[in-house]
Subunit: 392 residues, 2 copies
């Protein structure tokens, strides 16, 4: 009886706090936000009769920047704003209600990026289609822990296994190791990069062959993402340079233990020509240093908006020593692909330009892809798509 | 340069919107919320200088109910509230700021329950310890899709594989099939039930043996959780009775295809004495109907706050036909355990009482566990712990 009463109250959009005793997990009313309109514009709505000012802040650039857009109060306390037509993408946004920044209370879909939670939406018709689920064969995503000799503990990683992996027990697969940026973790390329969906879709479109993607955690002082360690809520996500053991090279020097675990645990084609490594921001720096320390392991390298450090050779850590000599060895290893991508608005644009100059001087071959925009997931997802189409 | 400027601005807690161009994912300031104090009280804080009224609503009962607690404005626009000492648990809460219900902007940890997102926290020292991560051997969690003959499409499920599964390739394991409630999905027992952590911890404490847990999706009209289907954001999470094909018995009748997939794909001990099934609310109803339709498959049954329907035998669907006869077959199948649990404040308490009367009349053996409280994850997590200690 109470159950049906609840349904009726929901239907008329007036669930009260009394019923919250049984279940606080119902959304009231018919208002929907956001609505992606057929013309690619997006309408946000918020019921906040007592608010004085409501803004939306998101990562689209079509409105001439990433600044604040003000919602307009319509009637009965419902605020609303419609964007210009947006390019096909996955977007993240939040509301600022009288100065308090929050997710859209009407949107059940969210993602955490470093220390904040954002509401998300997709605009289809282009790249945004690759980031959404379609009725195609789906791969498996595994959250696994491996024993690290380096840290003397377990460490967590995510693995994407392509669609045929579970059904075809004789096939072996190439592996891409894909590294997150500062403040990120082993979940970032799934939650924000949507790489399991991209892989499913590109495989279904026969744009890539099937391969495994491994997402390690590159914060050596922490075994796993915030909230997934024994610190639990005491470890709140922060930028990695605020944590111990930042840039001491232990992660890069010991990366072969991750490759070893993966080759032991999964049906991999455990050869150099079937291994790639790429990363964004700090993960691009890691990719470069891992390549220098383990040039025999990988045949493909991707640096996405890499957080390079041109003075790293001066740091007193084994992974960073003999920096010049390691570059010569790296060059002579004869890799298939060294792919560097950066956006013109990225705060790391200049250091990437300087880095490429050094590579030119040393005649270390690479391919360069310059995009517009800054240090954003919008770029990294597109770089991922472009990069994986060149692999294996 | 910009990077270090950002760090400095973060350090002094005054990041502005200008820098949001590069990254909108930093949390400003030193304020922390919530803080679980050593005495088990919990302090919430919110910076909202322009707000007129701030409340917190959560699922703890220590304050004499689940009602609203008002935050008090302290100084410089910071609102604060401290709970009484709370029992060790995982708790969910939201703020209501001038009538708008949102998650805690300072808490990076959240969970979706049906259509809403909640902030979460843990109080340790009891059950809450089981729901958090500890430095114990961790199992693997897999998100997999299986081909359903019933729906002629792929369907998504989650699998927990115990710690030794990846390393010991010869061992086989019993399986618990664990079903979600209305509005839930294959993620619910992980995100809200924390069963991967409970399993890791109970196994480490040697309170249970290692076994596999399978979390299927019980909404037959949808192949996966909201946001994980080709409907993408068009399918917003709702209570299951609002979707097509509710209570037509197709899920229960075809459940053997899930068991078949699991036995083909994983190293299971594919025998009745190594199979259990349990579910909460709608999943408790499903468990009962699956038991009646496949009594040869399972030796252990768990009904947690089951959403039973005493008139189900009158519905014109194969899974629900011959209801009386199926109960006799079920009774004669000689199962190990039929465990029923319900809270005294649950809106399904009376129907569970009525159901048990019918079982008594038919001399169908069961064990009954009555708890306090209502239709809440707090109960279901505890029921899970109690139930799995009785298995295999």
């Amino acid at each position: 009886m109470k159950k049906y009463l609840l349904v009726i109250l929901l239907a008329i959009g007036c669930i009260g706090t009394a019923l919250a005793q049984q279940n606080t997990s119902y959304r009231a009313g018919d208002l929907v936000s956001p609505v992606v309109n057929p013309d690619g514009t997006v309408t946000f709505s918020l019921q906040a009769p007592k608010a004085k000012k409501v803004e939306v802040i998101g990562d689209w650039e079509e409105a001439g920047g990433y600044g604040l857009m003000k919602l307009v109060s319509k009637k009965e306390g419902i605020w609303s704003y419609t964007t210009p037509a947006l390019k096909s993408e996955m977007y993240m946004y939040r509301f600022i209600i009288d100065g308090v920044t929050v997710i859209d209370p009407l949107n059940p879909f969210s993602r955490r990026d470093v220390g904040n939670i954002f509401s998300i939406f997709y605009v289809g018709g282009g790249y945004g289609d690759l980031y959404q689920v379609h009725d195609v064969p789906h791969g498996t995503v595994e959250t696994v822990w491996y024993a690290s000799a380096e840290t003397q503990g377990q460490r967590r990683l995510q693995v994407y296994l392509p669609p045929s992996y579970l059904s075809d027990s004789h096939k072996s697969y190439p592996v891409l190791y894909l590294l997150h940026g500062s403040g990120g973790d082993e979940n970032a390329w799934l939650d924000l990069g949507q790489i399991n969906r991209i892989m499913d879709n590109l495989i279904a479109q026969k744009r890539i062959r099937e391969f495994i993607v491994v997402l390690p955690n590159g914060t050596i002082s922490k075994p796993a993402a915030a909230g997934e360690t024994s610190d639990n809520m005491d470890f709140r996500p922060v930028m990695t340079h605020l944590l111990p053991d930042y840039k001491n090279g232990r992660y890069e020097a010991s990366f072969d233990e991750i490759v070893g675990f993966v080759d032991r645990t999964y049906r991999t084609d455990a050869q150099r020509h079937s291994r790639a490594i790429a990363g964004l921001s700090m993960g691009g720096f890691h990719t470069w240093m891992i390549g220098l320390n383990h040039p025999q392991l990988f045949d493909y390298y991707g640096l996405f908006s890499a957080g390079l450090d041109l003075n790293i050779g001066q740091k007193p850590f084994a992974a960073y020593s003999n920096y010049e000599q390691k570059q010569t060895t790296f060059k002579n290893s004869g890799y298939q692909l060294f792919w560097i991508a950066c956006g013109t608005d990225d705060f790391l644009y200049n250091i990437n330009t300087e880095f490429r100059k050094q590579l030119d001087e040393k005649k270390i071959p690479y391919q360069y892809r310059e995009s517009t925009r800054g240090h954003l997931w919008i770029n990294w997802r597109e770089y991922f798509v472009e990069f994986v189409e060149k692999l294996f």
